[in-house]
Symmetry: C2
Subunit: 181 residues, 2 copies
DNA sequence: GTCTATACAAAGATAGAC
DNA sequence: GTCTATCTTTGTATAGAC
């Protein structure tokens, strides 16, 4: 039962940290800020997480896994542009708030520099672009299509809170149009 | 002549600060970091700028003005989607590195919260979207088109350093395709 | 599991000499 | 214009009681 409470508290911390990181940035958010919203002391927080960076890692784990799955899909030759971009849209819709944090905050990238994650992420984006470009060196249209799916998706999420099935379909269509009309 | 040197130093500070803000985020960059790269003490910095935030303001002034010009263009009814999106592309190409900072860093938005700028910025984006949507309430395609021009443009800038005339034309074409095929 | 108290470093900023 | 020295606040993190 004690375990239950600890797990609940852990979840609340991640939830609060996610909100604050998104609003003020990772570097711009202090442990005191998080503890304040949680309604406990800073020390209580350190019982659940060994450091601020550990909170970030826990928050990012899901997004990184989702990116990895999309990149894997893009890597295999069996999937067309529509499938790949559809997977990107679903990923954005699924990991919404956290992705907004990760993708938008330079201090997150700086905190993770050298620790595999970042290069992994950028490499994964490039893998998707390469697949969409189909070997074409002038990959501008592919970059544009990914921008629609990922950044356009983020903008829509921020605006509407979530993406309906119709939104996803429309977004995919717009991305495909950006790719090659 | 003393004025000349001061002006030069001011420029160097802005240059260095811009790079660091982009790499580590605004909140993640300290005055000491900037002074270190400048090769002087922290105090020297405070001779040129009264505060960290003042550096940010100076850095953002150009981008905000550029956004205002685009929004103004979008506001007048005489310009079509191609003109508006072209202006967005030019704005991105022109204010490159700084826009990447501004658009991507939550700690920048937090630092400016309440101080007109931010609402101004978001409002200006919405004005562009509204114009592109042409009154259509389902503005997804407009959001998508803006994402191509702005975020796609950012991604390209990050990748290529600058946008050639051909890049701009291609990007605009992709944005128009995202808008309505 | 959460608290108070505290260590310790880093941050933003200022004073006053040169 | 730039320095050294210093103040103050804030930040991350730990120790030890309950």
């Amino acid at each position: 039962m004690a375990d239950r409470n600890a797990a609940r508290t852990r979840e609340r911390i991640l939830e609060i940290a996610g909100e604050l990181f998104r609003a003020r940035g990772y570097a711009g958010t202090s442990i005191a800020d998080i503890a304040g919203r949680l309604g406990t002391s800073k020390s209580a927080l350190y019982y659940h997480f060994a450091s601020k960076e550990e909170i970030l890692d826990a928050l990012l784990a899901g997004v990184l896994a989702a990116h990895a799955r999309v990149a894997e899909l893009a890597g295999s030759a069996e999937h067309g542009p529509a499938e790949v971009l559809g997977a990107v849209v679903d990923m954005v819709a699924g990991s919404g708030a956290v992705l907004a944090t990760f993708g938008a905050d330079p201090s997150v990238a700086a905190a993770l520099a050298g620790r595999d994650h970042v290069h992994g992420l950028r490499a994964k984006d490039e893998q998707v672009v390469a697949r969409l470009a189909g070997g074409d060196p002038g990959a501008l249209a592919a970059v544009a299509a990914l921008a629609v799916a990922k950044d356009g998706g983020r903008a829509l999420m921020a605006e509407r809170g979530a993406l309906s099935a119709a939104d996803r379909a429309d977004l995919l269509a717009a991305a495909l149009r950006a790719l090659d009309g």
